[in-house]
Structure formats: structure tokens, C-alpha cells
């Protein structure tokens, strides 16, 4: 029986030669990722109640990113508890090194074929590496940490194919927002979304991570991309061992539940209006929308490639009067690399405020939360009402190019004219 990539990984994880969609099986996890918000402070009381320790400390990675850098007493106390727990349990711990979804693969913890759970809803990010990774709640995570196992209904696969290539000025974020607009936030039906096609294969790993991450916004359980040479190169460079990627490919005739086909070449830059990623439309549909704040941040919007793209627009230009540009790099490594390449200097030159490498206001944390009636354009993943600050604030989602161009213009703006010469230093 031909199998999809999701079925192959789950079959391996539950010790079977094959599985069928709809079956409920118990699988062994290869890795569990937790962070400071849903991690030690929530799971430790349950582990104590059960009277057990970790199933395997070498398979647990803890990353502090939500309460970093510790802006108030409660946040600092949670970070202290997190650090004590890490020391006591002797798990791999990255403290203030960046957002978990970016740091985990950056440090070589992911490789194709793994079965991984994360204590955060954007955990499908790991799907970009050909790993079956998905998010779970804190109680369920405590169960995983105690047993090393989790039950899963073998999902159907929903193939999302993008034919052709993205044109200049278009990004993975535009693809994903377009998908939210067309398929809706339950289009993924909690099944395995898998991205494919020339436009996807031509993307680097950081762009693929944005697609997989936002499988959460599509309602998928994970967002897989079949591993290839790009995947293997990234894993090796991160200090991991990619293994034999040939075994983590779907069989050519494996049955899937749905197969959607889109044309990448004709995609226009996308902007999602408040208060849902599903409110996506072409940037040209927002002719007169002034912004107060432009935010380049989050795991889907401030990795190295996102910073580089925002800087490409901003170099030699200035931010419109009255607009505040905020930049929160997604990881320390990406920030250091951006600094070495002169990208951080571009942000400083235009007067951007550089925020800590953490989840920050994307998740409603930190000191830069949006005030009353503020309109923000943001490179993040969600624009739910009140998520990034005051209930009366409004958030438009867009690519780093579009966010930067809108900061320059003071209103929502198509970035493409700013990328074709003129005004660049």
C-alpha cells in the first residue's frame, strides 16, 4: 500500500510497517520541545502528582522565549523557575537565544523523519524539515514527558501545490496569507498539510519554516515539506545529521484527501486585514490605509531572511514621520549575522527601535504592546483582536517587504516599486 510522508513517519514512530488514515495509534516521540510559558511551570506539578521524572532527558529541549527578557516580577519569577528546572533536569536549554521554533532547528535538533511534539501552537514549523511536528496543550505535554508516548489519529494528507515561481518582492508569507484567504482557518481540517511544487522547492529553509509554522493558521496538525538537498544542507550546517532523506518521501501514488493547485507567478503581495489571517487580499485592495506602527518580528517574520528583506527596502530611505518601526529579531544568531552583514545598521539608520529576540508583542508579551486605537502592520502570524495589545488596536499582516515599504510610505504600500532601483543607496 503506497504511503504519504505523514503515514511513513507515524508508522515508524509507532513501530508498524504501515498505517491508514483514521487509525488511532500510540507513537513514541523522538523529541519534545517546551518553552517557559507552557513548560516547567505547567508540567512540573503534574509530573510531581504522577511521581515520575522525564522519560528521557536527552529527548527534551527547553527554550525560554515568551517571558524573555523578564520585564516584570512575575515574568522574572517564571524565568527563574525555568532555569532551576533546566538545571535540575539537565535538559538542553537555550535561554534568551531566540524564539523556540527558530532556535530548535538552528541548533541541529530536527531532522527528516522525526516524530516531534511542541508545547506551542506554532510547532508545525518542524514540518519544514520533513519531521512530523505538532503542538499540544500543557497537560498532554506532561503526559509525553512522563511516558515518551502520545496517541495520534493517523491524518489524511492535504497537498498544497504552488506551480511556477514567486516573482520579485513575493515571499512565503504572501503564499500563506493567500492560502488563509482561500482555504480559511479550518481548511487544514487538523490533517497533515503538505506543501509541494516548484515555488516551494525553490525556497530556502527559513522561508519553508514560515509556511510550515502557519499551517497552524490553516488549521492543519502539521505542515510538511518533503526533505531535499536544501533540507540536508541546513541540517548539516546546524550540526545535525540529516540521515537518508530518500526514505522520507511520499510514494508517488499515495492517496491523499485533497490536492489544491495554485499559480505562484501571478501571486500579488498579500495583506490580511484585522482581525483574522483569513481576511487576506491583494495589497492593491488597501489604497488608503495609514499605519502608526510597523513591526518586523516573530518566528514567521524576523528570521535572517526577513530582516534582510526589510533592510533591502529601508536602505537609503527613511521611515515616514509619525510611524514607529519596531524590529525584534527571531534569534540571537540571526541578529548577530544580520549585524555582521550590515543589516542591523540599516534599521538603526532609519531610527528603528530594536527589541529583544523573543516572542514579544506577537504573543502579547513584553513592553511594546500596542496602545489604544493603534494601527499596526506586522510580519507576524496572527492578528486576532487584542492579541498584540489593546482591544481597540488593529493589526494588518504582511511580508517583511510590505511591512518595511509601509513604514516608509506611512500607509499600506506595495513594496515592489521600492525593489526595482530608485532611492536605494
Amino acid at each position: 500500500m503506497p504511503m504519504t510522508l505523514a503515514e511513513k513517519i507515524i508508522a515508524r514512530a509507532c513501530g508498524r510497517s504501515s498505517v491508514q488514515p483514521g487509525e488511532i495509534v500510540t507513537a513514541k516521540v523522538d523529541l519534545a520541545m517546551i518553552h517557559d510559558s507552557g513548560g516547567p511551570r505547567r508540567v512540573e506539578p503534574i509530573l510531581k502528582r504522577l511521581g515520575v521524572g522525564l522519560f528521557d532527558r536527552s529527548k527534551v529541549v527547553l527554550i525560554s522565549d515568551h517571558f524573555v527578557p523578564g520585564n516584570d516580577e512575575a515574568g522574572r519569577a517564571i524565568l527563574e523557575l525555568t532555569r532551576r528546572w533546566a538545571a535540575e533536569k539537565q535538559v538542553a536549554f537555550y535561554d534568551g537565544e531566540g524564539i523556540c521554533h527558530v532556535v530548535l532547528p538552528e541548533r541541529g535538533h530536527l531532522k527528516p523523519g522525526m516524530f516531534v511534539v511542541g508545547g506551542d501552537s506554532h510547532s508545525p514549523t518542524g514540518g519544514a524539515f520533513g519531521a512530523y511536528m505538532f503542538g499540544i496543550g500543557a497537560t498532554e505535554m506532561a503526559g509525553v514527558l512522563a511516558t515518551g508516548e502520545i496517541w495520534i489519529r493517523v491524518p489524511d494528507t492535504i497537498l498544497i501545490e504552488w506551480r511556477g515561481r514567486l516573482s520579485e518582492g513575493l515571499t512565503a508569507k504572501d503564499i500563506l496569507l493567500a492560502l488563509c484567504g482561500r482555504l480559511g482557518m479550518d481548511g487544514g481540517k487538523y490533517q497533515a498539510v503538505q506543501y509541494m511544487g516548484e515555488a516551494i522547492e525553490s525556497l530556502g529553509m527559513q522561508e519553508r519554516m514560515t509556511l510550515s509554522n502557519m499551517a497552524a493558521e490553516l488549521g492543519g496538525q502539521t505542515g510538511l515539506i518533503a526533505p531535499d538537498a536544501t533540507t540536508a544542507d541546513y541540517v548539516r550546517a546546524a550540526g545535525g545529521e540529516p540521515g537518508e532523506i530518500g526514505q522520507w518521501q511520499a510514494d508517488p501514488d499515495a492517496p491523499v484527501a485533497e490536492h489544491h493547485v495554485f499559480d505562484a507567478a501571478s501571486l500579488e503581495p498579500q495583506v490580511a486585514a484585522p482581525h483574522s489571517p483569513a481576511n487576506a487580499a491583494d495589497v492593491g485592495d488597501y489604497p488608503d490605509t495609514p499605519v502608526d506602527v510597523a513591526y518586523v518580528g516573530a518566528c514567521t517574520g524576523a528570521k535572517y531572511i526577513d530582516l534582510e528583506r526589510a533592510a533591502q527596502v529601508l536602505r537609503g530611505r527613511s521611515v515616514a514621520p509619525g510611524v514607529e518601526l519596531l524590529v525584534a529579531p527571531a534569534s540571537r544568531r540571526d541578529q548577530d549575522r544580520a549585524a555582521a552583514d550590515g543589516i542591523m545598521a540599516v534599521f538603526e539608520d532609519v531610527g528603528a527601535k530594536i527589541l529583544p529576540t523573543a516572542c514579544g508583542i506577537c504573543a502579547g508579551y513584553g513592553t511594546a504592546r500596542l496602545g489604544d486605537d493603534v494601527t499596526c502592520i506586522s510580519s507576524t502570524a496572527r492578528n486576532f483582536k487584542g492579541r498584540m495589545g489593546a482591544v481597540s488596536s488593529s493589526v494588518y499582516l504582511a511580508s517583511p517587504y510590505t511591512v518595511a515599504a509601509s513604514a516608509v510610505a506611512g500607509r499600506i504600500t506595495d513594496p515592489r516599486p521600492m525593489l526595482t532601483g530608485g532611492g536605494q543607496a
Binding site: I24, T26, G51, V52, G137, E140
Partner: protein
């Protein structure tokens, strides 16, 4: 199995019942009983005060969409709801429901049950008996281990039982490692 097969009433809701309706944000810091008293009040103000043991929720698609907050399922369980039969569920809610011991079944029942119908959810038998209409709606059975998990009261009580078994059968009482 120790299912309480008591009869109850059907509470019928539409599509996209979200976790903010089930567990309103402004009561998230309050004790579960307080939170549960406001469950679904935005669409049915009398729900929490009238629903009781044996009652069944019948709904449309994407029940439990939104946040991953477990309290959405815990509130319904605290009110005595016997289970939910919906056209489809949001994924994380579905997992959370089972993990907190609330039976959930995907089935197209909404056109065959009216609000207030006398119904009985047979969890182990995977059927919804509609006494008012003298009909039986077949549901997709839950696999035995998920039934056991729900029957134990959810994942944590289930694991407590499992670890108690493991440690009592172990030679050394210091050995409390997880069985994998």
C-alpha cells in the same frame, strides 16, 4: 466500563463554536466552577444554569475552534455534559476533550436531533439514542484505549493508575520510571 447511561436533553448549536464562547477570556483566571458558569453565555445565556448530567451537545462543524486552552473542555465536563456529537471538531479541542475525560464523537447528527429532545449518549456502544424521535444515530466508535482514558477521567488520572500499577509491580519501590 462504568458509563453513566442516564438520559438527558440535547443542546443544539451551530458551526464554529469557539473556545472564547466556551471559556470566556475574562474568567480564565477564575476557578473552573466560575468559568463554567459563564460557558456559552454569549450564545445561550441560560445554558450553564440549565445543562446537567446526561445532557449532550449536538453541533455543526469546527466545534472548539480557536485557542488551545483546555478549560474549554473542562468547563463542559464540570457542568456534567455527557459528551459532544459534532459534524467536526477543531483539532486541539478534540485532543483536549479526550485528555480531560469528555467524550467527543464526529457525526452528522445535527439534522436528526432538535433542542430539548430526550437523548442518551452510549459512549462504549458509540451511538446517540434519540428517545423523542425513537431513532438511533450510529457514531464512529472510539478505540478501546481512548475509551479507557476517558473512563479514567482523563489523561492524568489514567497515567496515575498506570504508574501506580508499574510501581506496585516493581521489585524496588525506588523504580518509578515510565513504561514506554
Amino acid at each position: 466500563m462504568t458509563w453513566d447511561m442516564s438520559e438527558g436533553r440535547a443542546f443544539v448549536f451551530g458551526d464554529d463554536i469557539d473556545t472564547d464562547q466556551l471559556a470566556p477570556g475574562q474568567y480564565m483566571a477564575a476557578p473552573l466552577e466560575t468559568l463554567a458558569a459563564h460557558c456559552l453565555e454569549a450564545i445561550d445565556p441560560s445554558f450553564a444554569s440549565t445543562v446537567g448530567p446526561g445532557d449532550v451537545i449536538v453541533a455543526g462543524k469546527n466545534f472548539g475552534m480557536g485557542s488551545s486552552r483546555e478549560q474549554a473542555a473542562q468547563a463542559l465536563r464540570a457542568l456534567g455534559v455527557a459528551g459532544i456529537v459534532a459534524r467536526s471538531f477543531a483539532g486541539i479541542f478534540h485532543r483536549n476533550a479526550i485528555n480531560v475525560g469528555l467524550p467527543v464523537f464526529a457525526a452528522d447528527a445535527i439534522d436528526r436531533v432538535a433542542a430539548g429532545d430526550r437523548v442518551m449518549l452510549d459512549v462504549a456502544g458509540a451511538s446517540l439514542v434519540n428517545e423523542t424521535r425513537q431513532s438511533v444515530i450510529a457514531l464512529e466508535p472510539l478505540p478501546p484505549f481512548l475509551l479507557e482514558l476517558i473512563d479514567d477521567g482523563g489523561l492524568i488520572p489514567h497515567l496515575e493508575k498506570r504508574f501506580a500499577r508499574t510501581s506496585s509491580s516493581s521489585d524496588t519501590d525506588s523504580k518509578k520510571e515510565a513504561r514506554v
